[in-house]
Structure formats: structure tokens, C-alpha cells
Amino acid sequence: MIEQFTSVVFLTGFLASMIRMATPIVIVALGEMVTERSGIMNLGIEGIVWIGAFAGFATTILTGSYIWGFLVGGIVGILFGLIMSVVAVEFHGHQIVAGLGIWILCNGLSGLLNRSIFGISTERPTIVATLPTIPIPGLSNIPIIGETLFNQNIIVYLTILAVPLINFFFKEISWGLNIDAVGEQPRAADAAGLRVGVIRTLSACFGGFLAGIGGAYLPLALYSIYTNDISTGLGWMAIVVLVFGKWRPWGILGGALIFGAANALKWRLQNTDLPLPYQITLMLPYLVTLVMVIFFVRGGSGPSALAKPFVRSEN
């Protein structure tokens, strides 16, 4: 039985699948990072992942185009990011409660649309093929690493590129610095002439956009079907990864790889002859989440003005 886990074939397959599974978590967590660093906490991203998954799936079925699928998934995500920011910025609403509301709203909406568009027949539509992999010439032939890193789909490559890019954006570009200013010291930022509300709204929309893209990734690149439990807590894992990564892109990447490994192991364990009930293997990512929050994500400081509404003083 041990040979099953030590063979090169198993290892290669496992590592490649870990990267593929970690990708949507990185995408969603990077989006939430931008939102939270501007001072808005959007706990609704789990829901946005669902609705993004559905929108991406339905669009790709109807148009046959992956690009449209991802784009529509992202646009729907923007819409819900916008709802969150309106509640937070315009109405000074309670952000934890509003986030839960968006989660449940999206949950209902995607279930409703799924049923009314595709019906309840057992012959559910499937996407003919998941997003194709693009082997990078030369590099993809290296044993183990080649298959893991250089024979993936386009979204995986873009995500790996996005991590240093977003890091650079927050360190060197004035827009990134403005987002941090608004999230850390909104009053000072306001006095310095930054428009706190506008920056927060745009950040929340960007976060929604990435959550929608991350959702669309699930049916388009991983499963080729849409089910009403497709997300299996991806948005919540992204939030854990964000806190674990201390609101920094490289930290997020590291945390997401742990979840990628748990998810990859989940599927692989089911195909081995270990005498484990399937419920236990399905539990794995949630247990990993629990262990991670208990041991690594305590307290978590985060942006100083996180989830606090900004009200201009009236004096």
C-alpha cells in the first residue's frame, strides 16, 4: 500500500493536482486581500464563488467560449462586490452581517438559476473539455517539476504571475499605497485628499471580480460540471489563507498550497484502497482549515480600519 504513495507517478500527479487546486484559492484570497486592505471585510466571497461558478459555467455552455465564461463570472462577481461596498460605504452597515447575507443570497440565486435554466433532469449539461493545459516547451519535460509547474492551464500561469505583480503594486505603485492608506488611516487619508469611499468601492469590486473568476475556474478548469455544492467552502478557505498569509501575496500563496495539498489528497485518497469512509476524506480540507486557524491564524492583526465604517467628522 505504501508504494501507492511513494511512486513518481503518484507524486507527480499529486503535486500537479495540488497546484491546480491551490489556484482558485490564491485568486479568491488575492481579491479579498485587496478588499480588506482598503478597510472592507467581505465575508460574502464564498457566495460570490458560487455565483461566479454558475455564471461561468452557464456562459461557457451557451457560448462555447472559456474567455466569456471567465469574463461573465468576473462581472457577476463585481456586481456583488459593489453591493457589499454600497452597504459598507454608503450605509455604514454591519459588514460581518452583510457578508453573511451576500453569502446566503448568492447561494439561493445560483440554486434558483441553476434549476430554472438547466432543469432537474439527470442529464446535466457538461463542458466538453476542461481548460486545456499548455505545456511550456523544454521546461515541461523535466521530471516531476515539469509536469507540476510547466504543464498547466493558462489561469494557473496567470495566477503565479499575479502574486509578484500584486506584491509590486502594493509596494511601489501609488494606487496600492492609497488602498493601504485608506485601510489603515482613513481619517488621515481623507485629510490628504484621498476619496476614501471611492477607493473602498473600487477595491471591493476588484475583490468581487477575482472571487467570480475563482468561482468560474471550478467548473471550467477542474470539474467540467456545475453542482450546487461545487465550492465546498473555497471562499472560507481563502479567508483563512488571507489571515494565515498576514494580508501579503506571498503568504497567501504559501497558505493556498497547503489547502491545495489537502484538496488534492482528498481526491487521491478516494482512489486508493485505503479502508477510509468517503466522509472522512471529504472532511480533510475542513480539518486542515481548523488546524491552520488554531495553530497559525490566531488573532491576526490585519488593516487597522478593517470592517469599521468611515464617517467624516461633522465639526
Binding site: L43, G47, I83, V87, E90, F91, H92, G93, H94, Q95, I96, V97, A98, L100, G101, I102, W103, I104, L105, C106, N107, G108, L109, S110, G111, L112, L113, R115, S116, D190, A191, N228, G233, W236, I239, V240, V243, P277, Q279, I280, L282, M283, Y286, L287, T289, L290, V293, I294, V297, R298, G299, G300, R312, S313, E314, N315
Partner: protein, 357 residues
């Protein structure tokens, strides 16, 4: 006459009860109106859908009884959320706590043999309370001792406990004949008796009402209730006044989990009589909306639990008669929660902007 109405509108009673009541009614109406537009969007008739909903939830004695049967777990879980949210402890785990209560109640109901009903029923319910309390204790002790975020832990426990229930139902507790994610039947000595013959209206429902009154008393008249409110409204001031925040949230969550667990226990021993995989249609999640619409007040929760119970009781009919899929329930629930998050609506006027010096 007009003068009297005006006087009433400005009286203290108005500010305390009437205005908040109408705000909540407005929130719910608004959610239903928006939900109606979505129903229109998928090509169904919202008026027909809502008419079917009301008719099947309140049409006759049996349907009213069915609605109240569903209101019972919502009321208890809604109280669970109310207590936790009052102390600003974001317990999203009522669903898992409810399942844990159901599991332990089922264990007592199935495996404890030879007991008279007078012992067996309370024992099953106490087991439910215990299961919920344990499931509620884990996240709060992690929060109090290690400052672990409770939203994540309560949520992950939901997933884990629901999968655990499914494992029990397909493995050790599965019915040897049916074998379809369902446990053996509970012994009849552990069933909560029916109160209204010919319906499923059981004695657990008045019990839940009694508990609601006790919780209302606890919140407004006891030391713990005062501490819960103090911690929730202003933690720093509470600490200065000598209230131990950790102690308060720990007791709050033990109680909160216990209430959700009792909801699960009553559901199993009063209604289902078996431990069924996914036996709750999301009572623990709906309870969040129930608590918020009830303005986190036990008496308010009574009304809102009936409202949401009607929504799930009528959802099946709405799907069958008006072609509106069941998930519309969650759509409306989500809208209600989002509206409830906006405590004070203050639309910024461009004319009132002041330049800070």
C-alpha cells in the same frame, strides 16, 4: 383624532416598539418585493407564487400545524443566534450544533432500551442539549484562550459535523434494511407525544415557547444577561466595569449551543424519529435571518421564526404550483440579512458635506 395619532407617534412606546416593528416589516416586505422581481425574471408569476406560499403555509389546521412544527427548530436556533450575536460572538455554527444535538438524541433514543417515556424523552432531549453545548464550547474556548476567529471555526465545524452525521447514517448507525443514509427508528418511548391529533404538532413546541420566555427573562433581568449585553455593546466599558469578557462569551456559547442542540433533539425525537442524513433544511443558517429580523430580541424571534417557517413550509408548493425553485427561500433570506445589516440608513447628501479644517 389626528392629534391623538400624532401624540401616539411621538410617545416613548412608539420609539421603543412600534417604529422598530415597522422597520422590520419593511425589511421583510422589501426582500419579498425584490425576490418577486427575480421570480419574474425566471418567467414565473410572483403573485401566484406568494399566494401558493401563504395558502400552503396557513391554509388549514394541518398546514398551520406543519408551519409551527418547522417554526420550533427555527425559534430555538434563532434564540441561539440571538444570544451569541448579542455578545458579538459570530456563531455561524448553529447548523452544526443542531446536527450534533440530533445525533446524541438519536443515540439515546435508539440504544437506551427499557426506559419509560417519562425518563426516556427528557434523557434524549438532554443528550441533544449536551451535544449542542459541546459543539458550541469548542469554538468559544478556542476564541477565549487562543483568539481563534469564531466565524471560521463554527463554519468548519458545520461541514465536519454534517459529514460525521452522514458517516454515522451510512455506517455504524445505518438502518440494516433501508440502508439509504438513514438510521434505525428511535424507540417509541423516546418520541415526544403529539399534542394535536391528526397533525405533527408536538409538545416540543410549547416547550420551545416556554424556553423563549426564560431566555427573555435571562437577557433582561439576570446578571448573565446584563453581562452579555454589556460585552456586546461596549466590550471596553464592560471590562472596565469588571465584567470578564471570556467568562461571559463562554457561558453565552454554551447556552447558545445548547439551544441549537435542543432544536436538533426535538426535531429528531418529536418529528423525524430517525437520524436522517441532512435532516435539517438549513434551520441553523435560516436562524441567522430569524434572529436579525427579530432584532435580536427573544419575543421578536417568535414572530420571525413563524415567518421563515412559513417560507420553508410553503416552498415545496411554490415550486410545484408556481414553478419557482426552492432556493428562492435562501435568496429572500439573504436579502433580509443584507437589509438588516444596515442599522441606520443615512444617505449622504452632497449638500451636507463639510470641509474639515
Amino acid at each position: 383624532m389626528i392629534e391623538r395619532i400624532q401624540n401616539l407617534l411621538h410617545s416613548d412606546q412608539m420609539g421603543k416598539w412600534v417604529r422598530p416593528f415597522f422597520t422590520q416589516v419593511l425589511i421583510v416586505l422589501l426582500a419579498f418585493v425584490l425576490g418577486g422581481f427575480v421570480i419574474l425574471g425566471i418567467g414565473a408569476d410572483p403573485i401566484a407564487a406568494y399566494a401558493a406560499l401563504i395558502k400552503s403555509a396557513f391554509g388549514n389546521v394541518n398546514s398551520i400545524a406543519e408551519t409551527l412544527v418547522k417554526a420550533c427548530p427555527l425559534l430555538l436556533a434563532g434564540l441561539a443566534i440571538t444570544l451569541a450575536f448579542r455578545a458579538e460572538f459570530w456563531n455561524i455554527g448553529a447548523e452544526g450544533q443542531l446536527y450534533m444535538g440530533g445525533v446524541l438524541a438519536a443515540v439515546v433514543g435508539i440504544y437506551f432500551t427499557g426506559l419509560p417515556p417519562a425518563v426516556h424523552i427528557p434523557l434524549a432531549l438532554i443528550a441533544g442539549v449536551l451535544g449542542g453545548a459541546i459543539a458550541g464550547f469548542i469554538p468559544v474556548i478556542l476564541k477565549a484562550k487562543l483568539r481563534v476567529n469564531e466565524v471560521i471555526t463554527t463554519l468548519m465545524l458545520n461541514y465536519i459535523i454534517i459529514l460525521f452525521t452522514s458517516y454515522l447514517d451510512q455506517g455504524p448507525m445505518s438502518d440494516p434494511i433501508i440502508k439509504a443514509g438513514i438510521s434505525r427508528r428511535l424507540l417509541e418511548t423516546s418520541w415526544i407525544p403529539i399534542m394535536i391529533k391528526g397533525t405533527r404538532f408536538h409538545w416540543g413546541i410549547p416547550l420551545a415557547l416556554l424556553i423563549t420566555i426564560l431566555i427573555a427573562f435571562l437577557l433582561s433581568k439576570t446578571m448573565l444577561g446584563f453581562q452579555i449585553r454589556a460585552v456586546g455593546e461596549n466590550a471596553r466599558a464592560a471590562r472596565v466595569a469588571g465584567v470578564s469578557i471570556n467568562k461571559t462569551i463562554i457561558w453565552t456559547m454554551i447556552l447558545s449551543g445548547a439551544l441549537a442542540g435542543l432544536a436538533g433533539g426535538i426535531e429528531i425525537s418529536g418529528v423525524q424519529h430517525r437520524l436522517i442524513e441532512r435532516f435539517s433544511p438549513g434551520y441553523g443558517f435560516l436562524a441567522i435571518a430569524v434572529a436579525l429580523v427579530g432584532r435580536l430580541s427573544p419575543i421578536g424571534v417568535i414572530f420571525s421564526s413563524v415567518l421563515f417557517a412559513a417560507l420553508i413550509a410553503g416552498a415545496d408548493t411554490m415550486q410545484r404550483v408556481a414553478g419557482v425553485p426552492i432556493p428562492v427561500v435562501y435568496l429572500i433570506e439573504g436579502l433580509v440579512i443584507i437589509f438588516a445589516s444596515i442599522r441606520s440608513i443615512r444617505i449622504r447628501s452632497p449638500f451636507r458635506r463639510k470641509v474639515t479644517a
